[in-house]
Amino acid sequence: MSAQPPAGEALLAVDDISLSFGGVRALADVSFDVRQGEIRAIIGPNGAGKSSMLNVINGVYHPQQGTVRFRGETRRRVDPHRAAANGIARTFQNIALFKGMSVLDNIMTGRNLKMRATLFEQAIYVGRNRREELAHRAKVEEIIDFLQIEHIRKTPVGRLPYGLQKRVELARALAAEPTLLLLDEPMAGMNVEEKQDMCRFVLDVNEEFGTTIVLIEHDMGVVMDISERIVVLDYGRKIADGSPEEVRANPAVIDAYLGVAH
């Protein structure tokens, strides 16, 4: 296994990532790094390639060019399963929960990687499997507590309102106890109170568990408030990289958002 870099060092680095779909260029020569323990935001106008960038990081898309370096290991093609095993978890823009299962079961799937009981042991249930199930259930309940969703734990996920579904998705990502958490528009579609709650959760996760967070977000207030450094993408290219103050004052960024042609 690769070593964990100390806080402040680069946990994740993407180098010269270029990604195309057929004739469409999604990302072009994008490079940036993410330090251990920081909250990094990726922002940019619609279609800038932000979600694609996250997909490259955890292996859902394979770039034509460039590499991803995570925890010392460099790869072009990341396999999503290995990314998960290495400690990367994420949420999706359009909620990717398992609609046929309850909240509790959804979050428990986040622990599947850590379960060791064999098929036969699961079929018998009593013994090792039961112990494992209960141990992991206890851990999952901690997360349910943390995100304040106890009252809906047995509800089928499909019946929940949008804001709560987002929270359950976050819970499922947290269940894996990830080193790096990728959040794709975690506050989309939420009202002010829900956003405040979500911000608090994100900050708590970062402070209490030391989880490094990369998030895509459109709400500038949120981004400026909680992120330590920001990457700005436009038309698949990186146009700015720095602290919130630097990015806010950057003319290229202002132009991109105002839609000035370049």
Partner: protein
């Protein structure tokens, strides 16, 4: 050598018959994205209604044809109303299973009609005027047996395909159908009346089912086994792509030829009976190599 050609041509012509049935699938899939498992049952039903009208009520060909077509259109419209519309928001697999249920329903209904009309379920002969006899001059010149009926079937299929191609590509209605197949919302927003379109689609599919039913019925008698032909259309579609009319033809030819050749050349080595599964295994192997079929389009999923 000429035995090989004989078998090959026989297989190709048999394949044309498969294509006829596959065309019905393609039509409905193209226009509504639904894989209509009941197409085979509809072929059987159409043939049966035709034969019943012809024999029991002594209707002349054109009248029987017209009436049967009307019945098929009705069946199509009812199917769309009663089965498909309530399920419009369900995942495609539910729609597919619903058409399986529909297939059983129509099969049961068809056989009840057969029992009521003819008191037994043995194959009913259907005469179309072309015998299953070989072309004499081919027999004389090249010593090859090519059935007249099979050639007639090929002509009919060809004409049907040409007509459908023109319909889809050159007429306004055809364009509307293709628009609906692509994107319902977009089609609605340019003013295409969806309900009308469904009615037309199912009517055309019913027409195709009727033609296929007549051809198959004339070839092997109108019987329940016709529904199994529908299952054979599945490998055809896999080879040709579910959305391509050309694919249905090419796929049918390939499956028909491959099946016959396998039966004749491989069959004796393994004790025969290959025709039962060869087409499916071929389709399976093909799926692993090129899932979208020869003429189909690759799907790119957005995450």
């Amino acid at each position: 050598m000429q035995f090989f050609f004989e078998v090959l041509i026989g297989g190709l012509l048999a394949g044309v018959m498969y294509s006829l049935v596959a065309l019905g699938f393609v039509l409905i899939f193209k226009a509504s994205g639904v894989f209509n498992f009941a197409q085979g049952a509809m072929v059987f039903f159409a043939a049966l209604v035709f034969v019943t009208l012809q024999e029991k009520l002594a209707a002349p060909f054109w009248l029987a044809f017209a009436l049967t077509l009307a019945v098929m259109v009705l069946v199509g419209i009812l199917t769309e109303r009663v089965v498909l519309r309530p399920l419009v928001n369900q995942p495609p697999i539910s729609l597919f299973m619903a058409t399986i249920g529909l297939a059983f329903f129509i099969e049961g209904a068809a056989q009840l009609v057969q029992l009521w009309a003819f008191r037994d379920i043995s194959p009913r002969p259907l005469a179309l005027g072309f015998q299953d006899a070989p072309f004499d001059w081919l027999l004389g010149e090249f010593n090859m047996m090519v059935s007249r009926f099979d050639a007639f079937a090929a002509l009919v299929a060809g004409a049907l395909v040409a007509a459908l191609a023109v319909f889809f590509n050159k007429t306004r209605v055809g364009r509307a159908l293709r628009a609906v197949a692509d994107d319902h919302q977009a089609a609605l927003s340019v003013g295409i009346p969806l309900k009308y379109i469904w009615a037309i689609v199912w009517s055309v599919a019913g027409f195709v089912a009727l033609v296929a039913g007549l051809m198959w019925g004339a070839r092997s008698g109108v019987q329940f086994a016709l529904t199994l032909v529908a299952l054979k259309a599945l490998p055809v579609l896999i080879l040709g792509g579910f959305e391509s009319i050309a694919g249905a033809i090419v796929g049918g030819l390939i499956i028909g030829a491959a099946e016959k050749l396998a039966e004749v050349y491989l069959g004796p080595h393994v004790g025969g009976g290959i025709e039962g599964w060869f087409a499916y295994v071929l389709a399976l192997l093909f799926l692993l190599v090129r899932p979208e079929g020869l003429f189909g389009e690759k799907h790119i999923d957005r995450v």
